[in-house]
């Protein structure tokens, strides 16, 4: 009698859990599982989206890695952005967060001012920066000119386009700043006082008190920064379109990664192959490369950040 009711209760609670999870289980199957399997399938097919797909083995794979002229430059740019943009964003976010903890007068106003650019919609912010940094009439170069400094070509110069994107990314530092600020304020005051009694200077206090306390947040910022950079799409795409002067809109073709492929990122090559060249198979190959890199980074985050998984009950 009791065992039956226990089994029935277990079944009931399993059904209840299933019920609560059902929207997501369906979504996971339809919008992640199915398309992921289809991406693998199409990566072995010659398919233009109109005529029937034909099995071609590893042709798409060898095409992407050896003959597709945009793959390696895109991967190189993505790695550049991971190395430079993520590092600078973390350093700058931490620096601005630290500065905010030191401000005595008007801290609230400064915090709001520093945070605002993060709110600017990416397309609007990118169009704004494409204007600010345009070599002809841009205020940035006007100011540099007045100061007697050199005036770079920014989004129109292959060696300055990625630094220009980095500048745009630093402008929108608000998210990292708030996270760092919260963690900096959580560092126990007594540790600073103890360090000061031991004669530790500002640098030693930062190195031996602040950093160890906030290192989980630094790691979190680095890994999520890498994952965001792997998805970096809107800003480089809009910047290159605006700078190259291409009319936007439907079906318009533009030079990917203008100038000289310097702003092309891996996700943009998925768009280029799949939606401009209608080479579904090759687009799926690049998508899978992106998937592999993103999942490797996620695994790293999981290993270091067990806290995200375990419920504290």
């Amino acid at each position: 009698m009791r065992t039956v009711s226990a089994a029935a209760r277990r079944r009931r609670s399993a059904l209840r859990t299933l019920g609560f999870l059902s929207p997501w289980l369906l979504g996971l199957g339809i919008f992640f599982g199915y398309p992921l399997a289809a991406t693998v399938y199409f990566s072995f097919m010659k398919y233009d989206g109109f005529t029937d797909p034909v099995w071609t083995g590893f042709d798409n794979w060898s095409y992407v890695f050896t003959d597709y002229p945009f793959f390696w430059p895109a991967l190189g740019n993505t790695l550049w952005l991971v190395a430079v943009m993520v590092t600078l964003r973390v350093a700058f976010g931490l620096g601005v967060g630290l500065l905010l903890t030191k401000i005595k007068t008007g801290a609230g106003v400064f915090r709001t001012l520093f945070y605002l650019p993060y709110l600017a919609p990416p397309v609007a912010a990118t169009v704004a920066f494409a204007f600010l940094l345009n070599p002809g009439t841009g205020p940035a170069n006007t100011v540099l000119d007045a100061l007697g400094l050199p005036q770079p070509g920014w989004f129109n110069d292959a060696s300055w386009s990625k630094p220009a994107l980095t500048l745009l990314a630093l402008w929108g530092i608000g998210d990292l700043m708030v996270i760092f600020l919260a963690s900096l304020l959580d560092v126990p005051k007594e540790q600073y006082e103890a360090a000061e009694l031991d004669g530790a200077g500002p640098w030693a206090r930062f190195r031996y008190v602040t950093l160890p306390n906030i290192s989980p947040i630094v790691l979190f910022a680095v890994v999520t920064g890498v994952i965001e950079t792997l998805q970096y799409y809107t800003q480089p795409m809009v910047a290159s379109k605006v700078a190259s002067g291409v009319i936007g809109g439907s079906g318009q073709h533009f030079e990917p990664g203008y100038p000289e492929k310097s702003t092309l990122t891996v996700p943009q090559t998925v768009y280029h192959l799949g939606f401009q060249r209608f080479d579904t198979g090759a687009a799926c190959v690049v998508a899978l490369v992106l998937f592999a890199i993103a999942m490797a980074c996620t695994a790293l985050l999981m290993r270091r950040g067990r806290g995200f998984l375990t419920a504290e009950d």
């Binding site: 997501w24 601005v96 204007f131 009439t137 419920a311």
Partner: protein, 291 residues
């Protein structure tokens, strides 16, 4: 001998006060410099938005005449109001669907004990980290070929009815902070799990729900890739983000009008921020601090 200690202590107090004052000046000078970096782009955008067509072609930074009419010109551009309507539809409906469908999922992941819960959480995080470009090709073929819905925003809105990984993750983090005792008390009183969620936990989770709703709303508001894929073929389905780029394309040399349009796209987000600052900051810290 006796006055010496007082003198040195007075001198050192003076030195300390001077150091503190210098420190104050240094910190605030740095803060002002940083403010210039964050604020000047907005200032130049606004100033340019108010210039005349001919002045926008020059390097002068200050408007000779103040052309407030630029905003009206942009507002009356064919399509601009449609982009607004579409963006509000996408962001509004998308947020309602995503938050509504994610609440029970986040609740189960935060409050139920069941086998495979950690694996499920792992899948949520993996889906959250997945670049949208990874699955876009089969997804596009599915919506365009199977369901004939390309040229509209429905392929972007409908999936939100099936839970959104980022929303689920953030909501779960928030729900974990609500003690179990509340739901257990409800259960003892004979309250069903669904009723316990709706009646007891959700009212307590209002700040969290507000934060994730804001986040989701702005995710949709800002989305460029989705509308580019599904809506680009039909100008009637464009959103502000996608439309703004094409606006620039159509007004090649008119930086003043483009900047006026940029201001009109930025303004609502910044206005909402001032009204909902607390919820915003709460949401950002939720992403990082827990765990």
């Amino acid at each position: 001998m006796t006055p010496t200690p007082t003198r040195t202590s007075a001198a050192s107090r003076n030195a300390a006060a001077r150091r503190a004052a210098l420190h104050w000046v240094g910190v605030h000078a740095l803060a002002v410099a940083a403010s210039l970096f964050f604020v000047l782009p907005f200032v130049f955008v606004l100033l340019t938005a108010l210039m005349s067509d001919s002045q926008a072609l020059t390097r002068d930074l200050w408007p000779h005449t103040w052309e407030w009419g630029n905003f009206r010109t942009v507002w009356e551009t064919p399509g601009f109001l449609t982009w607004w309507r579409n963006t509000l539809l996408y962001a509004g409906l998308g947020t309602v669907l995503a938050v509504g469908s994610s609440i029970p999922v986040a609740y189960a992941l935060a409050k139920f004990r069941f086998r495979g819960r950690n694996a499920m959480m792992l899948l949520v995080i993996a889906a959250m980290m997945l670049p949208p470009q990874v699955v876009i090709v089969p997804m596009y073929l599915f919506w365009a070929r199977q369901l004939d819905l390309s040229g509209s925003l429905w392929p972007l809105i409908i999936p939100f009815a099936f839970g959104n990984p980022f929303t689920i993750f953030l909501l779960r983090q928030f729900l974990l902070t609500i003690p179990r005792e509340y739901t257990e008390a409800a259960r003892i009183d004979g309250c069903g799990e669904f009723r316990a969620m709706v009646r007891i936990v959700l009212p307590m989770a209002k700040p969290g729900i507000a934060a994730v709703s804001l986040f989701h709303f702005f995710y949709c508001w800002n989305d460029y890739f989705g509308p580019q894929i599904y809506a680009s073929e039909n100008p009637g389905a464009w959103t502000l983000s996608y439309g703004l780029e094409s606006f620039k394309g159509a007004h090649q040399t008119d930086w003043n009008l483009t900047m006026a349009a940029t201001v009109l796209v930025m303004a609502p987000v910044i206005l909402v921020f001032f009204f909902a600052q607390r919820a915003f900051i709460e949401g950002v810290t939720l992403t990082g601090v827990k765990g």
